[in-house]
């Protein structure tokens, strides 16, 4: 499925997804985040979407699962997740742990895993696929501001992690 097809067939599902998510989640910001993540997940598997009989049903299923995840483990989606991991890194008494941290700092590789899924996806859209924020907003059917907020959060978290690592 190419970009045009995605915009025609997947993005219009947004209304349905939002209504459903609003039933389960109280916070409008959470609703926006979940729906954004649904679209980004769908985008990254766009090549396989033709295999599904009903793309709408797939989107609804992802939407439902993400909502449930949100309710079960809200801390994995907010800002706390990163703070937790930073605290763990910051424990500098054990020399082995210290060495490990140095390794971790040298291999930047696991930085992305410390971010919530949605922020990882947005960073990938921006820095790997090279989309502008406006284009990402188009693909998720939302407004530019909602995408910008999550991109900003992701970058600030990366900055936070780097400043901790490299001091």
């Amino acid at each position: 499925m190419d970009q045009e097809q995605f915009k025609k067939e997947v993005v219009p599902l947004r209304n349905k997804l939002e209504i459903y998510a609003r039933h389960l989640l109280n916070n409008p910001q959470d609703v926006e985040d979940v729906v954004q993540e649904v679209f980004l997940k769908m985008w990254f598997i766009r090549n396989q979407l033709d295999k599904y009989n009903d793309v709408g049903a797939l989107a609804m299923q992802i939407n439902k699962n993400l909502c449930i995840n949100h309710l079960r483990t809200p801390h994995l989606f907010g800002d706390e997740a990163v703070e937790d991991s930073i605290e763990k890194i910051d424990d500098k008494e054990d020399p082995y742990v210290k060495l490990e941290h140095k390794d971790a700092a040298n291999q930047v590789i696991h930085l992305m895993d410390r971010l919530p899924e949605l922020q990882q996806k947005i960073l990938k859209m921006k820095h790997v696929e090279g989309f502008e924020v406006e284009e990402i907003a188009e693909l998720t059917g939302g407004n530019v501001e909602a995408v910008r907020v999550n991109l900003s959060r992701a970058r600030k978290k990366i900055r936070e992690l780097y400043l901790k690592f490299y001091k």
């Binding site: 930047v108 910008r148 900003s152 970058r155 490299y166």
Partner: protein, 186 residues
Amino acid sequence: MMETNNYQHIQELLNRFFEGETTNAEEKELYQFFSSSELPEQFRQYRQMFGFFESGIKEESEEKSETLTIKTSWIKTHHKSLIWGISAIAASFLLLFMIGNSMREDHFNPYEGSYIVRNGVKHELSEKEAQQAAKRMLAIEQQQINDYNNAMKTLQEHKEKIKNIKDKLNQINQINQEIKVNKQND
């Protein structure tokens, strides 16, 4: 003066970068600036981070998808040998099962400590007795085979005799018929 202006510009871009407001072109400018060899003190801490934004994220996601494809391709390439392996195991089980079954038909095989119940009384066998019993059983079996062969032989002989008699009867009948024909002709 030019430089401080430039630094101000970079600082502004940096702020907008963290707010998610920069365009791809402006981000390229930042990457370029932070990869230059001489950075003023206040920007130095961001050098590695911009390396991450420029190429680290891409590398990381490529690495992930690579491990994913390796996993799937392993299954794909080993698909056939997996099937062969499983069928080989199944075949060897079948073979073992068949051999085991044919072994079980194996007859009376006494050993030391075996016993025979004769008229409700249990007789244990010593090693010597067991060997003797085994020999005797073997002899009996041999005898049975011989008997069977003999019986088959006599049966065969009888069959041959009967066949001879039948042949002869046929000959007599033929001769009789010939005589009849001859008489009619006369």
